[in-house]
Symmetry: D2
Subunit: 380 residues, 4 copies
């Protein structure tokens, strides 16, 4: 029975043999050590189920505190697409649809899970993954002035991702403007935080408490941010629809052994002492710490790609997803060292590629990558 | 960083303080040690996602071997209701419904998740949780003879649970008869194996290979049988509908970090040396071993309740769910020692109660319970 | 308006050639003369659409008056299954289901249209087509006492048919009791009146105003009661959900040229002078008159079958659907004279058959049938 | 048939009193005289139901002949949105969506009826209401090259309207190109012919037989083209999915008294002697004749607006829907004489308006309108 220390050393050896730095996604990993440890610590305890377990309850309280939202209601679901489809369907009236930028995950990469629940996804133009609040306002103004509106799908919600699928961020001012437009037209503002840890780490002004004041619903992504699986849906004002347990179960999204996700969020929202970066002496939840580390390493990647390799950013992302325009001539060599995702062709001789750090990316990995690339591509 | 040994001792102390033997369900626990250990061992490895990870792949092979079904297709989902709703909807034609006994989980306790996907659940009489093959045959014969059949929901599938919600089991002969009726009328036979480990352990003649020959689809329950979460859906003949990934994702049931369930089933289907009971020198997967232990303890419970306490069985269950008729006068005292579920009133002075063992129930727990009850209720 | 006269004479000739009296259903016909005439009269007028036409508006007012329900909201849909599925889905919360007797049309003969909208149809025992209020009360009492109720489909509505699929009727007292139970448990009472004209005609104490006080929603069937097509859904207290136009259109149930049904109900709810039977000098809508005529002829059929032919009723129906036990030896001869529907075998030598009169059945047809049967079967 | 004559004279008097020429839509009317007459003629005949009536059968044969598609399967539904949602859902696999131009009726004005059935509507750019085949080809090529395609909604169908919502038409060459692209990528081509009569009348080269060769499914609109209600769905190659009756009923779209629509299409597809325009001595179905008359009057309107009033077309439509840019100064005066639909503002002093002729528009109406406008607006 290995302990964690042994395990880590074993893995470190393996890592050395495997030269590739895996930046293809932020869900190519297991769970953060603290999450695993908490699963072990609590393993022999017996508990209630279907959300009534004490671990979920404690996680809910920690999340409420981190959000400064004492009224918050929190549900734990297993994955992101499930969360989006379930929550959107639970919150919308049957005749309502959800507005989003056309690059939104629900519009592109969820195999129609929202439409499966009977709701239209109404796509507006995307600006590097973001909705423009002016365009949204104009669209809504035109919709509600249209005499045929009752024959159209009524907008009931604005869906955004923070950070977006392209790694970009809304500012606090932009979120406030979106919130105001939603209020004016009676729409819910829903924020998909699949990568919330990385967004909060990179944002100069968006925090969990701010998000809790501006969003009607948001989810705190676990799967991509340190957990084995699981997402925490937050209704910060405690105004979720009635009978949420039935609603969630009807979508197949209620975990019998709910502690599985509860324990993980209990770990992720514990105060973290070993915070990264030069930061104030504030104790923040581990969740935020994990985001900071990944963003810090993403900035080091940016430095490597832009300053050392002279690549142009494809999108200017401040978060853990980085996009660069790679000369096709470099692509094969790059792949020898990096697990990456080809994003799209740019021109005949360049390709946009995505490089993703995560809570699991280590300083050693990035340092080794820098060393290898220096030798091979940069030729020094 | 505790290792497992420490952890276990800590928990053992705690267990001693807590006198209650938790028999209220088989999902009031964490995961089997081997499952947790495998999560730890594999934690630092990077992997593909959405089912393409090597852990899921290995688990699929182990399951195929255990089922003696080399053509089998296996998908890993997060929970039981999700699995039922997703698979039933994927397999049925839109105009088809699913037949089941009226006590079936899909008919009673899934908040309408199957109907949410647009399909009717057609309930036939339940005989201690089981479908009677003769009644099924008569029903189908009448349906297909009915001139108005096109105005009715066409039966496309028979759903049964093994073991049933009441702990009972179909014999191999009964499963064969169900299979034959399904074949005759062109229906799929789908077996919900949420507690399959316990059913296989208790059955004299039903095995994974037999199930693979008789069922068109079945799922191997993980959540209640040693895993933190997850179920393995098996199409033993490899004839799943096309585009299953899209279909599953559309139901919100595709895990991005699919290894979470894959690693667990990889552990559960490893050959187990430390098999319980006096059994032949066959190496069986851990999954089956876990079932045997729980059933063995359930039989010890039966002995305690029937022979020592003189309770009548409410249902004659050979599996890990036990149902007894408890005198109301005993109920409060019993609850001091046992976490149980009140099932239903029987008469003015008796109540049927459910007692559930699981892979997590220990011999020590049951021994301690026997000792306590001997002292208190039996008065010796 | 003499082409009708011509037309009738032409058809009378044809009828004489065709010896068969068509009693196989109450939708084997066209429309009542007054309905056709009103379609002709209004044909060249231009009108609004989607329910805003003046014909629909006038029909709404007439229906409101006949129901003594000045607050009533009325929608016109094209057919019965569409109406049931649309209204049930519009009124229920997503997590709710609809209770009904197991013989209910929505449970048996709508190809799963209600489940298609995502709602469970929860079948209770049927007593000659009717729900027993005591059984309903017990079921509801047990449901709301069940600790697992949130995992079950919550009952949100009681659906009954008036008259039932078996031609039977609830008394005013029974409807009142159903209403009271629904009120107590917060359920809607919805009455499917596909054959309402015949039910009202046969009932000693149920009237449109009474129905409007006791039901939350009901529909006045047109298709089987004198119209070419169309049903009028009534919310007698004007408390329909918001955005009904969008909701109905989303179900594909909004007619662009809404006047088609509106004109027909405008005709059907005109005061009728030529009322059948010996009745008080009250002017009733044509709709009720049509029902009375069909029921009167059904009673003449009953006399023929029971007193002359000595057949036993299969179900004791006071309405336009009559069910008799026919000796198999008579069946072929009977079919020479009557279009009937074989209902089900009764024993080796008897078959239950359904005979349906409608607004389109004439006294002459029944008289001719009596004459023929007298000659052939009765042998006088 | 003199009541029609009477009726017409009555109405003519009324028309003289009402000065307004009603061009606000093509469903502001009743039914063509021949349709009403056939409803009267057949009214007293008894018939089968649910599509098995002899009128529907005869209409199916006439449509098959007009389409030169002897294998064609034809279903009659009540309205357009219902038809689109039902047929799209019946034909698509669950994981498939439907491609269309963003102005398509299913994307804009059906209250989300297609999404209600669980399918995504995937909007491509609209060019005056039309899909560009080059853009479609590029989109499909990119989709099927995308490595994440399984996570996206797979395109299963191309939906177009003929004529489009903006009155425009695809040429035979464009339809052929669309057909070829669909074939290449395994998509169905579905043509919404809500206004098909007007499209066929205005097209130089698209005919029912051509449409039957190029489209996999199309519907022949009745509601806007001479019927009281009803649309005829054609699968020209007889390859509709199995169990269509159940599928249609499940959508609430099966008419019990199916003859209602069958009789109307039986009338509309009778050979018409009194064909409009200078055309060859070919006997065409009444349906096509009705379209020609409306288009002819629309061209007369165009002449009036463009040549007399000097208005610019907003869209260059050859069909019964005409769109002109009206100076705001003229708008009120215009409305005194014409029922029109304001389409959208063009600039500060101009508004685009829609003027729709139909089978019900008469030469007299247009002549009177010309006279009035000449006096008032043109000032001569």
């Amino acid at each position: 029975m290995n302990d964690f220390a042994e395990m880590n050393s074993t893995n470190k050896n393996m890592e050395e043999r495997i030269e590739v730095c895996h930046l293809e996604s932020d869900y190519n990993n297991g769970a953060h050590e603290a999450v695993l440890r908490h699963l072990i610590e609590t393993n022999n305890e017996r508990s209630q189920s279907y959300g009534d377990d004490r671990f979920s309850e404690r996680a809910r309280q920690l999340i409420g505190q981190a959000c400064e939202a004492p009224e918050a209601q929190v549900w734990f679901l297993a994955g992101g697409t499930q969360t989006n489809a379930t929550i959107i369907d639970c919150v919308l009236q049957p005749y309502e649809g959800v507005l989003c930028p056309e690059t939104a995950h629900i519009n592109v990469h969820e195999s129609g899970a929202v439409e499966f629940t009977g709701h239209k996804v109404i796509a507006l133009p995307s600006h590097d993954g973001k909705l423009d609040v002016g365009e949204l306002r104009s669209w809504l103004s035109a919709f509600f002035a249209d005499e045929t509106a009752e024959h159209m799908v009524r907008p009931g919600m604005v869906y955004i991702t923070f950070p977006t699928e392209l790694g970009t961020l809304y500012t606090a001012a932009e979120l406030t403007a979106l919130h105001d437009v939603c209020q004016k037209y009676g729409l819910k503002l829903y924020v998909d935080g699949a990568r919330l840890a990385y967004g909060l780490a990179a944002s100069p002004d968006v925090t969990l408490p701010l998000l809790s004041r501006l969003a009607d619903i948001f989810y705190i992504g676990g799967t991509k941010c340190g957990a084995l699986c699981g997402e925490a849906v937050v209704f910060p004002r405690g105004d979720a629809p009635s009978h949420m347990l039935s609603r969630i179960k009807r979508h197949g999204a209620l975990l019998a052994k709910s502690r599985v996700v509860g324990v993980q969020f209990d770990a992720l929202f514990q105060p973290a002492g070993d915070v990264a970066l030069n930061q104030p002496a504030v104790i923040v939840p581990l969740y935020l710490t994990l985001g900071r580390q990944a963003v810090s390493l993403a900035m080091r990647l940016r430095c490597l790609f832009v300053e050392r390799l002279g690549y142009q950013p494809f999108i200017d992302s401040p978060t853990n997803q980085q996009f660069y325009i790679v000369p096709n001539a470099d692509l094969d060599r790059l792949r020898r060292y990096i697990g990456l995702e080809v994003w799209c062709p740019v021109d005949a001789s360049h390709t946009a590629c995505r490089f993703v750090t995560s809570w699991a990316t280590t300083e050693d990995e990035i340092a080794a990558l820098e060393a290898r690339l220096r030798t091979d591509l940069i030729g020094l």
